[in-house]
Amino acid sequence: MAYWVLTWLFAFIQFSYAEEKVLAVVSYKSSLYENFYESLESKLDEKIILEKTAIADLREKNLSAYDLVISIGSDASKILSRTGNINSLLYTLIPGTLAESIGKRPCLAKKCLSVLIEQPADRYFQLFKLIFPRNRTLAIATTSKDPGYLAQLKSTAQKYSTQLKIIPIDKNTIIARSLIKGLTKNDVLLALPDPNIYNKDTAKSIILSAYHKNVPIIGYSQAFAKAGALISLYSSLDDIASQTEKLASNSRGNTKNYYPNAFSIEINRSVAVSLEIQIKDINELMRAIK
């Protein structure tokens, strides 16, 4: 009897500590991916054996030997989405555009999941309502002409009883000038990712012009608040790594694309004081945003 109990216990312990082999594939060597990998590595359970490789060295790896392959970044994800012989594939740190594009093709692995960089727009609408509960219009500039996208923006605005102004931008014009022309003093500009509008070349003139029009900006990356936007809501590398870790530890969900559950908020207090906008404590804001 004692023998059987010991054998069962031993088997149970062995099962409990069954090691899982995970391969992380980074797009290329860069501090962005290195930092992300380090963050992910620190979060993963001890029973997970994590290896790292770059796309260039992928041929040397037998992908079927890994329980899970995590592709970090767009380039790695594009290549792995076309590669077979993979048990489970988790794309992370990728924009929704790429996830949608990959999602249109059949998943060559047993299971394919994605962790996106972006935020669900709901969070921005909630943040807007928390800072400006009344009498302000949320302005969104976009080069997109997709009626589905515009309709969804409007329905989200309706859901949060938000007055919404969509400023259509022709990307062949002088972006900042067209955008600023569409803004009035009562507006708050929500910068959603659109590389035709918000990029290194245009950021300066948009932020400056909006500020001089007393129009605060809510940005989608930390860089916005640093550069002069009122506030940024974004997921840091650490936030996205946490989400990736959750899916790596348990990929039983049916959903294909996951937004990071965790997010961060950065307030540019100097801009807030200058524009005479009172903003609650960051923790209070984060608690209030579902």
Binding site: S144, G148, K204
Partner: protein, 650 residues
């Protein structure tokens, strides 16, 4: 094992990216992780931000781009009429003067005038060459009028206040834009601005020519050419270098409306004004930045002509000045405490063949150290403290100070109590006077017993001002209505005055005090905005030496005010109505002579157009439409004036 997240949230959530993927395959490649994790250049450094009015230690009026556009003014000083207590006057068609609360003559306006932080008054006489600033109205982003002694932040000469002109960042004027103004009285103005972005470098070039015939009965026309360049180079995400270069060349008709025409015959003078200004701003983090700036400016007024007084003589009123300024400032902002400090080193050099004939000194060096803090004691109380130590060759060392307490009754209502002490250092001509005309010396010696017209006979001390201030800043109607009220008592002492007799000199000692009230009301309807300003002054003389008591008692306007009403009739048509009033006050020309109250009504009607897919705008501007006699000397009555303005993006 944890629960998978989002689930239903995903169904409701959206992102621009995912929808672009469905419809615009081409754009997919453009969005990458670097769009989310790359830094942008730091655009709004702490030093570039404006302090909210409710926390400001001093009354401040902002004249923004919309007000500038709506006013229809073509001369920069005229814009200052849109601030309470500001007085604007003309000495001739091209010589303008502006002062806060009083304006005894065109010189020593006792205000600091800054263009992008560059001090532009001339060190010789302390006047501001408004026509030769090297910028155009089109270049201006906004003007901040700081009403009250501000030497603790801006140094001596900011004795009664500061006018800070801020030009548009180069990144805001991309593309080409042309503007033409044509109107009465020989008004012909043309402007061309070209702006471009080359990677991290934004630049803008403005070329302009401005002409008019001056006042109807005078010889005071002008032909002014302006070339300026602004470049903003983002060296790294945390470093920006701004370069401003200005050249202004003017050909000006000169007369003298008061003196004997033989003594001051009509003639042409030429003025060249150039400046180079470079500023490096480094951001350490969101709330900590420093800047280092250097500028040099040259002002050369070539004004030499033949005149006659008993005998023909050579009159050389030329003045050449050079100012070099090096400034370091460091600002640290935190949630409840802002702090800035800095050092300024300045050298002013002047040559003036007849005004400073054998003056002992032609160069003045200045060193300044300043500290300004704003401490938010609680949600309701803010304390500001400012100190500036100034060491000047002409006036020794002074310590200017300011302290204020702002109590916020609520987010909408703030009470401000403040005290400030400021100084004005004597200008080179006041301190080292040596006004000598060689050809006339024997005659003057024969008649008056002295061959020098005015001379330096004593060491002057700085002028002093002390101000006690109570202010109320209130917002109503969801902040669509803004009220700024200021009650003050100001004591001016040690004022520098001139004994105008032949052989006379400058001396210290006159004093007067002012009590008054200023108010400014801004109201924004849907398509209409209204700005109203009013100032009431009650001066009393404390001590006179050479001046007449009447100079102080009645030389200042008791009442002054302005109103600017703008309305948008449709998406493309807008109009404005301006009303400007100044009570009886000194004429610029002549001590003791006053000019009657003046009213001026201006109107502007504009229509925006599309021409070949370019934005254009045509405006009709009527000035002084009731044809009242307005500003400047008695002979400068201008008639009703009007012009058409056309601008277009090229």
């Amino acid at each position: 094992m944890r629960k998978p997240i989002l689930g239903t949230t995903l169904a409701l959530s959206l992102s621009l990216a995912s929808h672009q993927a469905q419809s615009q395959e081409l754009e997919i490649a453009q969005l990458s992780e670097s769009d989310f994790f790359s830094d942008f250049p730091v655009v709004l450094t702490a030093t570039r931000l404006k302090q909210p009015q409710k926390n400001s230690p001093i009354a401040t009026t902002i004249i923004d781009r919309e007000m500038i556009e709506a006013s229809g003014f073509t001369e920069i000083p005229d814009l200052l009429r849109l601030a309470p207590g500001m007085l604007v006057n003309y000495d001739s068609g091209h010589v303008l003067a502006a002062g806060y609360q009083f304006l005894f003559h065109r010189y020593t306006v006792r205000m600091q005038i800054l263009v992008d932080g560059r001090s532009v008054y001339t060190p010789t006489f302390g006047e501001v060459p408004w026509t030769q600033l090297g910028i155009t109205i089109e270049d201006i982003d906004r003007i901040e009028v700081i009403r009250g002694p501000s030497s603790s932040s801006y140094g001596p000469n900011a004795m009664t206040g500061v006018i800070s002109i801020i030009t548009r960042h180069a990144s805001r004027d991309k593309g080409a834009k042309a503007k033409v103004n044509i109107g009465h009285n020989g008004l012909r103005e043309s402007y061309l601005t070209v702006g471009e972005n080359k990677s991290a470098f934004d630049y803008k070039i403005t070329v302009a020519n401005r002409k008019n015939d001056g006042f109807e009965t005078r010889y005071d026309g002008k032909d002014v050419s302006i070339l300026n360049f602004r470049g903003d180079y983002q060296y790294s995400n945390k470093d920006e270098i701004t370069v401003n270069l200005n050249v202004n060349s003017s050909t000006l008709q000169e007369d003298n409306a008061i003196a004997d025409p033989a003594e001051h015959p009509e003639h042409i003078k030429k003025v060249l004004n150039r400046s180079q200004h470079v500023k490096w701003t480094h951001t350490l983090n969101n709330n900590d930045s420093f800047s280092l700036s250097y500028y040099q400016q040259e002002y050369h007024d070539r004004n030499r002509y033949d005149a006659f007084l008993v005998i023909p003589f050579d009159r050389d009123e030329s003045v050449k000045t050079n100012r070099q300024n090096l400034e370091f400032s460091h600002s640290i902002y935190s949630s409840n405490h802002d702090f800035s400090w800095g050092i300024i080193l300045r050298r002013d050099k002047t040559t003036a063949p007849q005004y400073l004939y054998q003056a002992s000194v032609d160069t003045i060096d200045t060193e300044q150290l300043f500290i300004n803090t704003e401490h938010r004691l609680s949600e309701r109380n803010t304390v500001n403290l400012g100190l500036l130590s100034d060491n000047n060759d002409a006036a020794g060392t002074t310590l200017s100070s300011r302290v204020s307490l702002n109590h916020h009754f609520s987010d909408e209502h703030t009470l401000r109590l403040s005290y400030a002490k400021s100084f004005r250092n004597p200008f080179i001509f006041e301190e080292y006077t040596n006004y000598y005309i060689p050809d006339l010396a024997p005659i003057l010696q024969g008649i008056y017993g002295t061959d020098t017209i005015w001379t330096d006979q004593e060491d002057l001390e700085p002028e002093e001002i002390e101000s006690y201030d109570v202010g109320l800043i209130s917002y109503f109607n969801n902040k669509h209505t803004e009220l700024d009220l200021r009650l003050f008592r100001t004591n001016l002492s040690n004022l520098i005055v001139l004994n105008e007799d032949i052989g006379g000199w400058f001396t210290n000692g006159e004093a007067f005090h002012l009590k008054g009230i200023e108010t400014s009301l801004k109201h924004q309807f849907d398509d209409t905005s209204l700005i109203m300003n009013y100032a009431y002054l009650q001066p009393e003389t404390d001590k006179v030496i050479y001046s007449d008591i009447e100079d102080y008692e009645t030389g200042l306007p008791r009442h002054s005010g302005s109103l600017l009403l703008t309305h948008k009739f449709s998406s493309s048509v807008s109009g404005s109505l301006g009303y400007y009033y100044t009570g009886e006050m000194h004429q610029l020309c002549c001590s003791g002579d006053t000019q009657a109250q003046r009213r001026r009504i201006d109107m502007k009607l504009s229509k925006e157009l599309r021409i070949d897919s370019s934005d254009a705008k045509i405006s009709l501007i009527l000035q002084n439409i009731t044809n009242e006699q307005i500003e400047t000397r008695l002979r400068n009555n201008i008639d009703r004036n009007g012009y058409i303005s056309f601008s277009m993006d090229l």
